[in-house]
């Protein structure tokens, strides 16, 4: 690859004051027609385009993005990656992604800083313990590394957690997936964009979709703020805005878009070197390479596209953080923001074709989509290219809401996403 990234290229470019670096991706105007168009330039959409070009030889394709790539939930999430899901279908899906994560930096020649620092999920009541044990057993039999830890082992792995049994909801145990961890969210979008661009994919930013043109039960193209683009295959990966696109095509989806908030503290020297999630008291925390504590809050209960949530949610999250980490009381919140998450009734995603030929949806990731990015892109590309799902995403079809075969991660276990 021309302009391959490495320490040597950095040294070489240092001599010319870094004035000769190539564009990571071009910024083309849309062509009149593409073999396929992906709506949504987040991690999932860009990955979909990358794998369509790479594995299915579909190179005359475009990604259209309303704003700037990676500017939605990709750039707003708390970057937790794990695959220790309960149900076989979910475990298959997320572990497929995790396996790709493990070599993604090399694959893309872009350091996405995938850091396998482990993810711990804590149990705070007896049912949590049952649920986490159930999940650990299921993980083991699915070939996913996960172990159950008792309270002492939790403390040993992350000494700053308050494991006193006198607190309101004491830590009774937890699970640990060592292969899990975090990655640099922006780099994922940028790395996939650069990779896709190199194979000829057009990445078109500031291009908002205004309509889907149908001929009977087939799609014919999209109306955008940059004009009409003809195509027979449309992959929609629009996260919180999925329903908006679906409505343009006359479809309804089983989704609700809700605010999800996150925050970071000021940066400090390393203090927590793993990811700890607690569903029962609702606190997730990790520390970024920059040193900020990265804290995920919960969703609000109302539908909103404002990218703002209520303060009560942030306050509740920090209450829980200080319950588990009283040493963080004097730390300060540096930034707080919101995203729009599209939530399915069973808290599992949809990666599926629809009743309209050539129209495919990849949505419903709720609060946990980032971790699936590479796998989701790969499987969605397969689904679009073959007009049939891959066996790993077959269970995540839209029809499950009709037949009743839900993949209920939400109701099934005390699993935080």
């Amino acid at each position: 690859m021309k302009n391959k990234y490495s320490i040597f290229s950095l040294l070489k470019n240092a001599l010319s004051y870094h004035e000769n670096w190539e564009k990571a991706w071009k910024d083309p105007e849309p062509k009149k027609e593409y073999e396929a168009v992906i709506i949504g330039g987040g991690g999932h959409g860009l990955a979909t385009a990358y794998y369509l070009a790479k594995k299915h030889n579909m190179k005359n394709i475009a990604v259209v993005e309303k704003g700037w790539i990676g500017g939605g939930n990709t750039g707003r999430n708390t970057t937790i990656i794990r695959s220790n899901y309960l149900w076989d279908a979910s475990a298959g899906l997320y572990d497929h992604a995790l396996k790709i994560w493990e070599s993604l930096s090399q694959e893309l020649n872009y350091n996405v800083m995938f850091s396998q620092r482990g993810v711990m999920n804590l149990a705070h009541n007896l049912q949590d313990v049952r649920d986490l044990k159930r999940r650990t057993h299921a993980n083991r039999l699915n070939g996913i590394d996960a172990v159950y830890l008792n309270t002492e082992e939790v403390k040993k792995f992350c000494p700053i957690i308050n494991t006193s049994q006198e607190i309101r909801y004491p830590v009774l145990g937890g699970t640990l997936q060592r292969r899990a961890g975090t990655a640099r969210h922006d780099a994922v979008a940028w790395g996939y964009a650069r990779g896709a661009d190199k194979m000829g994919v057009d990445i078109i930013q500031n291009c908002e979709v205004k309509g889907i043109k149908r001929n009977g039960d087939c799609v014919e193209g999209i109306e955008t703020t940059k004009g009409f683009i003809k195509t027979n295959k449309i992959g929609v990966v629009a996260a919180g805005h999925s329903s908006v696109i679906a409505n343009m095509a006359g479809l309804k989806l089983p989704l609700e878009s809700k605010p999800l908030q996150a925050l970071v503290s000021e940066p400090v020297k390393p203090i927590i070197d793993t990811v700890v999630m607690s569903n029962a008291v609702h606190a997730y925390v990790s520390q970024s390479d920059k040193g900020e504590l990265v804290i995920g809050a919960g969703t609000d209960d109302y539908i909103s596209y404002s990218q703002k949530g209520s303060h009560d949610i942030v306050e509740g999250t920090l209450n829980a953080i200080l319950e588990l980490y009283p040493i963080f009381s004097r730390m300060r919140m540096l930034r707080q923001w919101g995203g729009i998450v599209d939530i399915c009734p069973d808290a599992s995603p949809i990666i599926s074709k629809t009743s309209i030929k050539g129209l495919y949806f990849n949505c419903g990731w709720g609060t946990g989509g980032f971790k699936a990015t590479p796998g989701s892109g790969d499987l969605f590309a397969h689904t679009i290219a073959n007009d049939e799902p891959h066996k790993l995403n077959a269970a995540f079809n839209i029809n499950r809401f009709v037949s009743g075969d839900l993949v209920d991660e939400h109701g099934a276990a005390a699993v935080a996403h």
Binding site: V244, L253, S257, D301, S304
Partner: protein
């Protein structure tokens, strides 16, 4: 956080309320007559509107009454509230 004008109690903080999703989805009177598709439409499919949405709220930590609200979901501006069973306001 919103200030919500409960039709029964007046203006109160949002923290007293719970949202209940899209309004005016009537539970089918004869569910057994419906196909799986039609039942799924009632059960799960939602407009999930960006813009003016009619939705249900409950004054959970107040009078516990359910009521309807018209709200712009793109900026969270509340346009109107009205009681259950009342006709939605037209602009």
């Amino acid at each position: 956080m919103f200030v919500i004008n409960c039709p029964y109690c007046g203006e109160r903080e949002q923290s007293e309320f719970k949202a209940g999703g899209e309004a005016h989805i009537v539970r089918p009177k004869q569910p057994t007559e419906l196909s799986d598709d039609q039942w799924a439409e009632y059960l799960f499919m939602r407009k999930n509107i960006k813009g003016i949405q009619y939705e249900r709220w409950n004054h959970a930590h107040g009078c516990r009454k359910w009521f309807n609200m018209v709200r712009d979901t793109s900026n969270d501006k509340i346009k109107a509230v009205y009681k259950m069973g009342e006709e939605p306001p037209t602009e």
